[in-house]
């Protein structure tokens, strides 16, 4: 399960994209709940990459549907980078 600190950082990064002020939770989805189009998702990913100083490959994106998915992926990439 994603680490709370990672989740909180991601919530903060999502805020500017969360135009409708949807309440954020680990299970919130980008497409259906937040209604982000694929271009916006990619901009958000860029923000997350820069915040954590990692690279989130495009190949991973189709599997990242919820905030928890992203947080888990971020934690894993950070850990792999050692």
């Amino acid at each position: 399960m994603a680490n709370a600190e990672t989740l909180n950082t991601i919530y903060e990064l999502i805020t500017p994209f969360n135009k409708k002020g949807i309440e954020l939770a680990p299970e919130t989805t980008f497409a259906t709940n937040l209604e982000l189009d694929s271009l916006t998702v990619m901009d958000l990913v860029a923000e997350i990459e820069d915040e954590f100083d990692i690279v989130i490959p495009l190949n991973l994106l189709p599997d990242l549907e919820t905030i928890a998915h992203v947080a888990d992926a971020v934690d894993k990439i950070v850990a792999d980078n050692g």
Binding site: D37, M42, V45, A46, E49, I54, L58, N59, N81
Partner: protein
């Protein structure tokens, strides 16, 4: 289960567009009067959205060469480049392009789309990294999807964003950075010097797609890399014959000593028929013509600046601050108004491309004009005039430039 059900949202999106008098997806050119004019639906129309930048579609030498090739070699090769589809003409065209670019090797593909698919899908393999500009053309994204590399996207035209990502990758991993000279939607030029220097600093190979810049950028018309003087930093240059060259086909040039091996590993090169001899012949003549076409290039730039200035002064919101290419795009506030604008403009006798927000970088609704070297100054003024009248017709608010 009807397999077409999944397209319902797209069908709905499309049918929600308020087109009533014309449909941008169903434009039929009934008669091509010249490089710059056609009959569309019985109306005499100025073509300002055909990517025919250098106006080579009726270049006399190219037409003559195509006719002769038809007579001498027939209508098609009926085969792949690696089987029976390489004629003398294909080799001569590759030599012409290699000479044009001052590079060692050239591969001619059946389209530019396939050139990008072929190169990008194989150059970056399973353990390699592919770094793409966020606003890359579909053929670049599709090449990435077809290959096995880890795909990393950096912010459009942003060398810092590229550097940050390169810095995070393993130092010894293979890397390919892919950029375009001119981006096709907004017509903006890439800061190639900064981008390519960063790529080289991190040991990456570089591919520059000059699809929309060949013909008019650079002294010889080789593209933005020539113009800025960074061709030595480009490992691969990809281009197309479907724009400035005025026919169809694609190519890649390189100085890499092992370049030729790509002919045996690029599936989009091997598993499709080669270009017909007539197309090859006209492409060859057209490229030779482009090299000598300094005057045309100059006139094309004048046209582009004239159109940009005219629309900007009229108060349109321009996609770029100044004319960076013959692609001059204006931004419309919403899809509804864009639809009305496009429709009224074509009824007024000007064809441009409409690009809806979901298909453009930054989600803007665009009227995208592309200018031809054969447009006269009068035609450019007519286009400007019809843009202004159309704006009035659809109640598009233009900014009062004089007041600013």
């Amino acid at each position: 289960m009807d397999l077409f059900d999944k397209f319902d949202p797209i069908v709905a999106q499309k049918s929600a567009l308020p087109f009533t008098k014309a449909d941008p997806f169903k434009v039929v050119m009934d008669e091509i009067i010249s490089e710059t004019e056609a009959m569309i639906n019985g109306r005499h129309t100025i073509l300002a959205g055909t990517n025919n930048y250098m106006g080579m579609t009726f270049a006399e030498e190219a037409v003559e060469a195509a006719k002769k090739a038809l007579d001498d070699f027939g209508t098609g090769t009926t085969g792949s480049r690696v089987l029976n589809g390489t004629y003398g003409g294909h080799k001569a065209l590759e030599q012409t392009l290699a000479d044009f670019y001052g590079m060692e090797s050239c591969m001619v593909f059946s389209t530019g789309y396939q050139a990008n698919l072929g190169l990008i899908s194989v150059l970056a393999g399973k353990d390699d990294y592919l770094l793409l500009d966020a606003d890359s053309h579909a053929s670049i994204y599709d090449g990435a999807a077809m290959g096995n590399a880890t795909v990393v996207r950096f912010k459009h035209n942003d060398a810092d964003s590229l550097e940050k990502r390169l810095r995070r990758l393993p130092e010894d991993a293979g890397k390919l950075v892919v950029v375009e000279g001119i981006y096709s939607m907004l017509g903006d030029a890439a800061p190639l010097k900064e981008l390519l220097e960063v790529a080289k600093k991190y040991g990456a190979m570089t591919l520059v797609d000059e699809a929309h810049s060949m013909g008019f950028c650079g002294e010889n018309g080789r593209g933005v890399a020539e113009e800025i003087g960074v061709e030595h930093l480009s490992d691969f240059i990809v281009g197309t014959f479907s724009k400035s060259v005025g026919t169809v086909g694609g190519f890649a040039v390189s100085n890499h000593p092992k370049f030729d091996i790509l002919r045996t590993v690029c599936r989009p090169y091997m598993f499709t028929a080669s270009l017909p001899p007539s197309v090859v012949a006209s492409a060859t003549k057209s490229i030779e013509g482009i090299k000598r076409a300094g005057n045309r290039r100059a006139h094309l730039w004048e046209n582009s600046k004239r159109l940009h200035a005219g629309l900007k002064n009229a108060g349109f919101t321009m996609a770029t601050e100044k004319a960076e290419s013959p692609i001059i795009a204006v931004c419309l506030p919403d899809l509804h108004q864009a639809t009305l604008f496009w429709e009224e403009l074509i009824l007024a006798g000007v064809y441009v491309n409409m690009a809806a927000a979901f298909a453009t970088p930054g989600g803007v609704n665009l009227m995208r004009a592309s200018i031809c070297a054969q447009h006269t100054s009068e035609q450019i003024d007519l286009i400007i005039d019809r843009f202004i009248k159309t704006a009035e017709k659809v109640d598009l608010q233009l900014t009062d430039v004089a007041a600013e």
